[in-house]
Amino acid sequence: MTQTTETVRASLAKRYARERRFHMMGLLSVMASGAFLVLLLGNIVTKALPAFTTTYVKLDVPLMPDVLRLDDNPDADAIAKARYNRAVRQGLLDLFPEVSSRSEKRALYQLVSAEAEFTVAEAVAGDPELIGTRHSLWVLADDDLDTYRKSKKLQAVPESDRRFKDFQVAWLDELKAQERIKTTFNWVLFQNGDSREPELAGVRGALVGSFYTLIVTLALSFPIGVAAAIYLESFATRNRFTDLIEVNINNLAAVPSIVFGLLGVAVFINFLHLPRSAPLVGGIVLSLMTLPTIIIASRAAIKSVPPSIADAALGLGASRMQAITHHVLPLAMPGILTGTIIGMAQALGETAPLLMIGMVAFIVDVPQGITDPATVLPVQVYLWSDSPERAFTERTSAAIVVLLVFLVLMNAFAVYLRKRFERSW
């Protein structure tokens, strides 16, 4: 055996150990990404779960005319304006007659949401005969009660560290004993717009805002993106102009999104005086952002259609434009649509440029059109994440879950399109 062989033999164990270490490091890195993903999603989903249920309290509301401050023969107008909050309060006092001090009374009134009086008003508006009777009604509980009930962790915290104090807990236990507490699915979350009261806050306004914004984005970026891709792929000769376009598309794909927000503020709002906070401007800005994605995907799809198809059309006497629009484009459509959906999914998750153009305003009403002030789902997440209430933390997570569900659906649809329609030649 030569000396070299011996040296090699001697170092083999060390080299193999190093090899194994390197292999492990690679595996660990990949697993780290997976672990981050599981941690992130698990964390948010567990935080979000409580927000999907909500608590109702059953009250026997005394709808006596003297409580409601009504005359003997009230007309419809007077009934609509009656003091239903007094009825709600009286209903609570009747349950706990021993409560006497002002501060305790105030705490008692806060067991139910501010929405309660409107629930009562609606019931009365539906059936005016109820006036003068005692009516049993489920009303929405306040978020403090709701959060305390759902969180085992919070129940273990000493009294001084929580908003829901021990005497309130006693009331809650009493209500439970009387079977006046129930938990239901939190429909409010999907029916309401934003609110300062956590138990009344919902994502409907943001969902509708996101929908309008995406419609504008799609209406602008899809035709322009596809037209640009057709031009660059099928008509443009290679010259300075097309080179410039290509460089620009590649660069725009990597420009930070916040810079598009600056463009939106300076051009669309300050110069063109389009309405602030509106899905119209948000959609325009997002469509400029998604254009590169759509153009790049569409070009790849058009390129993948074999030239023989266009050649056959040309051979039969079609013009270039006819060959492209009648033959190449339909075959490239699945790829183009896949790219478009992925671009739309990116636009749906985008936040930063929309902050600049004022879509961060506190908006309670659900927007009715593309020029109404609106907010979008990711911005709603951002807004709620600033609120200190625990209930808002849960709702933020819930809004994230809703957002992620939409993203997953869109991406799954894109994958389906690709699997179902894309063909290899």
């Binding site: 292999h23 031009y231 300076a266 254009l291 153009i295 600049m356």
Partner: protein, 460 residues
């Protein structure tokens, strides 16, 4: 007539023009039997007429929309008696009058001058609207009539229509150029205005950032100081932390997935990476604030370190997770592009797999890997939501990752949300920062793309 009704009407006219011109073209040769005598298909004649119908009218509407406001303003201002306003700001008065028109309460206004102006506005706007509708419809009809009058057997309708379509395609393609131009011009214009008030040297080399300026001249308060060094340092600090996390993990993942992993592992791990890249940044931000930052704080307390609740470390770590996929997917591409022959040569000399990777594959792929890291760096510098939510607002000049720092993007967002006064240095500062951000990321991107392309060409 409202704009939406007008556009609907124009669309109806367009369809009518299409159908009429198509029939007319067939009539010139006497029906479908002799259609081969026509130069183009009947549909082409229809399309030509439709274009002539709708395009001039739409151009008119756009021009009208741009010019209407200023022209009416000028007309009203010209008729305004200068004595009645006595040196007050004319623009302000015009604005008030316009608001009055929009609120629809002209009768209840007490100031007679304002009332007069408002009713004048109302009258002019009504006139302008009806004139607009009339002209648009007239243009549509004239256009259609012109196109139809020219329909003959020999009219090269298809060529004309296709030339128009090509024009539309080319215009769409140049939207990318217009966007870049728009970004550069808008940011540059506002930034120049900012530099007129604050010297560029103060901005670039100043070490104190406190953008609170007095909005009115007589207001008490700070005059503001716009030294951007703390922001640059903060941005670099957070980006450096992010890259420290993302580069090793991303690079090792790419190596493992392209060199070691079984196809089954790949088919699971790749989508996981893609999902990581597809999660909205606001979600990462929320995760950083709510989970990572408190965890770091508790950990710091347990070993006797004080960690700020908005520490650079929390934001940087989470941002690092976010950019792992960018590093790994690009590096994966370049590692795969290294020719198999190089690996085979190395194996033939007796090297182990890891030795081959470290001494042959990585050096060969290095330019591409550097490119991917540069792209990831540009992502990290431009990333907004994570830092807005998880990093602080106070501009500390420090490189201690446990303290709170602020970044360029955070400051842009804080300066531009809320009330904006486009003549205050505070708002304009956001554009100066935006200019810096745009230039930095542009340079990084250009270098990265150039390096990656050069590298690809080398092995093709």
């Amino acid at each position: 007539m409202a704009l939406s009704t007008l556009i609907l009407l124009l669309l109806v006219l367009t369809v009518a023009a299409y159908l009429y011109a198509r029939r007319r073209s067939l009539q010139t040769v006497g029906g479908w039997r002799n259609v081969s005598q026509l130069h183009s298909l009947p549909a082409h004649y229809g399309a030509l007429a439709a274009i002539w119908c709708v395009v001039p009218a739409l151009v008119l509407l756009v021009l009208w929309g741009v010019l209407e406001g200023p022209l009416i303003d000028r007309h009203v201002a010209a008729q305004l008696d200068p004595a009645a306003v006595e040196g007050a700001n004319i623009n302000l008065i015009l604005n008030q009058a316009q608001n009055l028109v929009q609120s629809g309460r002209i009768e209840s206004e007490t100031d007679p001058v304002l009332q007069g102006l408002a009713s004048q506005y109302q009258q002019l706007q009504a006139q302008s609207t009806s004139l607009r509708s009339l002209l648009a419809i007239a243009l549509a009809v004239i256009g259609t009539a012109y196109a139809c009058s020219r329909i003959t057997k020999t009219l090269r309708a298809r060529v004309r229509v296709e030339r128009f379509m090509l024009g539309v395609l080319a215009t769409s393609a140049s939207v990318a150029i217009l966007t870049t131009l728009g970004i550069v011009l808008s940011v540059l214009f506002e930034a120049l205005q900012f530099f007129r008030e604050i010297p560029p040297t103060d901005f670039l080399f100043g070490t104190v950032w406190s953008p609170q300026t007095a909005i009115r001249a007589d207001q008490v308060g700070a005059t503001g100081s716009f030294g951007a060094i703390p922001l640059f340092v903060g941005t670099l600090l957070i980006s450096a932390i992010a890259l420290t996390v993302a580069v090793p993990i991303g690079l090792m993942s790419a190596i493992y997935l392209s060199e070691y992993a079984h196809a089954n592992v790949r088919s699971v791990a790749k989508p996981v990476m893609e999902v990581l890249a597809g999660i909205p940044t606001v979600v990462y931000g929320f995760f950083a604030v709510l989970t990572v930052a408190p965890a770091l704080r508790r950990f710091g307390e347990s070993i006797g370190l004080s960690v700020a609740s908005e520490s650079a470390l929390a934001a940087g770590l989470v941002m690092g997770i976010m950019i792992i996929p960018f590093v790994s997917s690009l590096s994966d591409d370049v590692i795969k592009a290294v020719p198999q022959a190089l690996r085979d040569g190395s194996f033939g000399l007796g090297a182990t797999k890891s030795e081959t990777i470290r001494h042959v594959v990585i050096p060969a792929a290095l330019p591409g890997i550097v490119g991917s890291i540069l792209l990831a760096a540009s992502r990290a510098i431009g990333e907004t939501m994570i830092v807005v939510m998880a990093a602080g607002l106070s501009a500390n000049l420090t490189i201690n990752p446990l303290e709170a720092v602020t970044t360029v993007t955070v400051q842009i967002v804080t300066l531009l949300t809320g009330d904006q006064e486009f003549d205050s240095a505070k708002t304009l500062a956001a554009f100066a920062l935006g200019l810096m951000l745009f230039c930095t990321t542009l340079v990084l991107n250009v270098i990265a793309l150039h390096v990656v392309r050069k590298y690809r060409e080398q092995y093709e």
